[in-house]
């Protein structure tokens, strides 16, 4: 979290930079479009995602669209198009990203001849709306990650516990949105025996912990020498895994993969989807 004192001066600095060079803003938009394409194309070219636009329950879609707003504002505040130091700027950037997500999705779907003039308006808006969420997350990430080195200042700050968990949720959600709509998730869950599921849980947790603490990627976290390994395991890795599980469950429910199923098959599908979720959560702690 930034402190108000430092925020004021840098915020002014930001604003003067913007008014001085509108070209910079356009470059930012360009990076946003790049990020949206990079992150959302796999979904825009997935058959299940097209169908979801009109088969998905309207209220679940509305809930997803509304939940995306605080999510985008949170990401924008944490990593942002530029270093954002006030919530006002964060909200503005989040909305720009949402807009980029909607426009790029509409263009891509039209390009693939998935949107045509004769279609009912619900189908057109539904198809775009489903795609707009991953695309807008991509737009925000793209603008920060594809940018030049000046964003790196953000890495040096000590992240608070809450924002660390939030970034894990973003990472998990990101990979889950890619995979939850596909039939393979439930198919894998049906193929697995419970023993396979147990192995998947152990694998997910181990990889998550190893990614962040053991194999020391750039941006990896270190344990101070007097801290036993299980401190970080209990405080970060297990909560991260539970977040990945919850996000998986939400994504599966949202895309109607759990309907009619009972408790245990739903749990198996959740474990399957939480595996990529866990990798995404761990990667988010390193990258973002």
């Amino acid at each position: 979290m930034q402190k108000a004192g430092a925020a004021g001066s840098r915020d002014d600095d930001d604003r003067s930079k913007e008014t001085a060079t509108p070209a910079k803003f356009l470059v930012g938009i360009g990076r946003g479009v790049g990020g949206a394409l990079l992150f959302a194309l796999p979904m825009q070219m997935t058959m299940e995602m097209w169908a979801l636009g009109f088969t998905m329950d309207s209220w679940r879609l509305v809930l997803l669209l509304v939940l995306a707003i605080p999510l985008l504002v949170g990401i924008s505040h944490r990593i942002g198009f530029e270093e954002t130091f006030s919530w006002k700027v964060a909200v503005r950037d989040a909305m720009i990203a949402y807009g980029i997500g909607i426009v790029t999705s509409a263009v891509m779907l039209s390009l693939f001849k998935l949107l045509m003039a004769g279609m009912p308006p619900e189908e057109i808006t539904g198809k775009i709306a489903v795609q707009a969420i991953p695309a807008s997350i991509g737009a925000l990430l793209g603008r920060s990650q594809l940018g030049s080195g000046k964003d790196d200042t953000g890495d040096e700050q000590q992240s608070s516990y809450g924002s660390e968990l939030f970034m894990m949720a973003v990472g998990a959600l990101f990979l889950n949105l890619n995979m939850a709509p596909t039939e393979e998730m439930i198919l894998i869950a049906y193929k697995m025996t419970p023993w396979h599921a147990l192995a998947t849980i152990v694998m997910s947790i181990t990889l998550m912990h190893a990614f962040v603490y053991a194999v020391s990627f750039k941006g990896g976290h270190e344990l101070s020498s007097d801290t036993p390994w299980w401190h970080a395991f209990i405080r970060f890795t297990l909560p991260g895994y539970v977040i990945a599980l919850i996000i998986s469950l939400y994504a599966l429910w949202s895309f109607e993969r759990l309907d009619g199923g009972s408790f245990t098959p739903a749990m198996m599908a959740m474990i399957v989807l939480a595996f990529p979720g866990a990798i995404g959560a761990a990667a988010a702690r390193l990258i973002l």
């Binding site: 516990y161 193929k191 990896g220 976290h221």
Partner: protein, 140 residues
């Protein structure tokens, strides 16, 4: 935030000192994961060697605008294994002669779950004997 030591480096360091809320969150999450592992283990022991058990129950019928009849039903799998590509066949019988046969296929009927479907007949099922049943399944 009562966070770790203020080390200025590119990688973030996890120190000994942590806010109590981190331990509370960690504790709850440990319990949740342990409970899930416990449930799956229990399920693993109980479900070994099971097979799908499919049963069809007719829910009701109503005329369709096109002059036909829609018969809706649920197919329930009481077994502990999932059945895939389940064909459900509905026969309208008059004594021993089959008047009309309609069939649909369910992609999956998950273990201990139910799925619903509808068969569309041209003749009135109320005037004849109606038999609906699953005629097989594949392992997913």
């Amino acid at each position: 935030m009562a966070d770790a030591t203020p080390v200025k480096s590119n990688s973030r360091t996890v120190g000994r000192g942590a806010h109590w809320i981190e331990w509370l969150t960690g504790g709850i999450c440990t319990l949740l994961v342990a409970a899930m592992i416990g449930w799956i283990t229990y399920h693993a022991i109980v479900s070994s060697g099971g097979m799908p058990q499919l049963a069809v129950q007719i829910l009701g019928q109503q005329p369709t605008p096109g002059g036909g009849y829609a018969v809706s039903f649920t197919i329930e799998n009481k077994g502990l294994r999932t059945a895939a590509s389940v064909p459900v066949k509905g026969d309208l019988m008059d004594g021993d002669t089959v008047i009309e046969t309609q069939e649909i296929t369910f992609d999956y009927v998950p273990a201990q779950s139910a799925a619903t479907g509808t068969l569309l007949f041209r003749s009135d099922p109320a005037a004849h004997d109606l038999h609906i049943g699953a005629s097989g399944y594949t392992d997913p």
